[in-house]
Subunit: 244 residues, 2 copies
DNA sequence: ACCTGAACACCGTTCAAGT
DNA sequence: ACCTGAACACCGTTCAAGT
């Protein structure tokens, strides 16, 4: 298991953001088997969900015997953990590093970026939410968040609580959104998923669940980016240092 | 698959709350095989986590051939889905039904009750967060929440958004808390888990993560009931109808 | 250091058959 | 309606062996 923590690199071009894939060495594109295992696992996760990402499936995809995987990873859980680390490494810290911007906007950028990275790999989301988030990438993200809330005027303890609240909100939202997709594979367009929810809630018993029926439109759109932002702003309004 | 929605019963004794297990018929305690399957699955989930709750394991536990399970459930996913429904049915609606109480207190009671029910079965939490929450029990809970927020003075759409935000917060919190436990089986006492986190964060690199190190105590306690309540109150402060 | 063959103890699920 | 025996195509992981 490689415990090295290669630093992320990120580029911001006046608003447009480019997330740079970290490569340990910029040399020839000779991917190690260890990297191949993660590539394969992630591809299988993306295509067929967690069931498809078996050790044997991974090995088959890179043309190697199943037990070759154990040269690099102690067990399947270690592979999954490494995938979580890799995905957290995809998060572009540049989008919220700019201290000139008002802090709520920076938090919003972070939340949207994190959500986008996570929902790009729905099959991996259960892994992130079932295993401990204690790797170096998670720590680095948290450190950033703490700094952000410090800039907002919160003391160390408040910043820590606010950071955790934000993490809970983003991961919780994405987890429920992915769970709502029912099937494995990439997420359908948001509009289609909302539409399918609308149909489901329209079929609900109006007598037994009158309020649910009355708010069906809004409930159907609970997984939307718009409502993600609404909730995020409510959370931020709660965290914001009280001016009294 | 039984699609009947037996209504929950709940008893409130002046603050003390008793959650009553629903039995379809109050007659003799002759548990059907279908119920036995769920009992066995939940017991295995509690003891050894999701890996232990295999179809074969369930069947063995109730002394039946593995394929007997398929008389009642289409597949393993259906068993898991039924467990989610059962656990949501354990939530005592009585604790927040009292409309005399101030609404933030009612929401707090609901959140604490839901959290308690979920974390009583940590092995089942991944199931709740990975599958769609669209069963009758989830609908009933949501309907209650909508009514609660309506009592608070929110309109239908705001109530729907607020309800979803609360659900995201509670499920997200519990999911991260359970994930942090590392091992299967019942959760260790909160104090022990916080202590273990404290040790882990004390070992973190102070130079690389200075803010994390400075707030280690608070971060260690992120999974605590106290901080769950703190976050809940921040969320409620954000939802609360603005008086302007 | 890296990979394999073979084996072990498991899985989920199906099918035909029994009562 | 409810359950079983037997089988199928899979699992994750280990061990000894090969280069």
């Amino acid at each position: 298991m490689s415990k090295q923590c290669t630093l992320y690199k990120s580029i911001v071009n006046g608003g447009d953001t480019v997330s740079v894939p970290r490569s340990p060495r910029p040399g020839p594109r000779r991917a190690s088997t260890e990297e191949q295992v993660l590539d394969a696992a992630l591809a299988l996760l993306d295509d067929g969900g967690i069931d498809a990402a078996s050790v044997r499936g991974i090995a088959a995809r890179i043309g190697v015997a199943p037990n070759a995987v154990y040269t690099y990873f102690a067990d399947k859980a270690a592979v999954y953990q490494a995938i979580v680390e890799r995905l957290l490494g995809d998060v572009d810290h540049g989008v919220f590093a700019d201290r000139e911007m008002p802090w709520p906007q920076r938090v919003e950028s972070l939340a949207l970026e994190l959500r986008a990275r996570l929902s790009a790999h729905p099959g991996a989301v259960p892994l992130m939410v079932s295993g401990p988030l204690g790797g170096p990438r998670a720590l680095a993200l948290n450190e950033r968040l703490l700094g952000l809330f410090a800039d907002a005027g919160l003391d160390a303890a408040e910043a820590a609580r606010g950071s955790y609240l934000l993490i809970v909100y983003v991961f919780g939202s994405v987890a429920l959104e992915v769970a709502d997709a029912h099937r494995p594979g990439p997420l359908q367009p948001e509009s289609e998923r909302v539409e399918r929810r609308r149909e489901a809630f329209a079929a609900a018993d109006t007598e037994q669940y009158p309020r649910t029926a009355a708010a069906a439109e809004t409930i159907a759109a609970s997984i939307s980016t718009e409502q993600f932002l609404w909730g995020l702003r409510r959370v931020l309004a709660g965290i914001r240092p009280r001016s009294r």
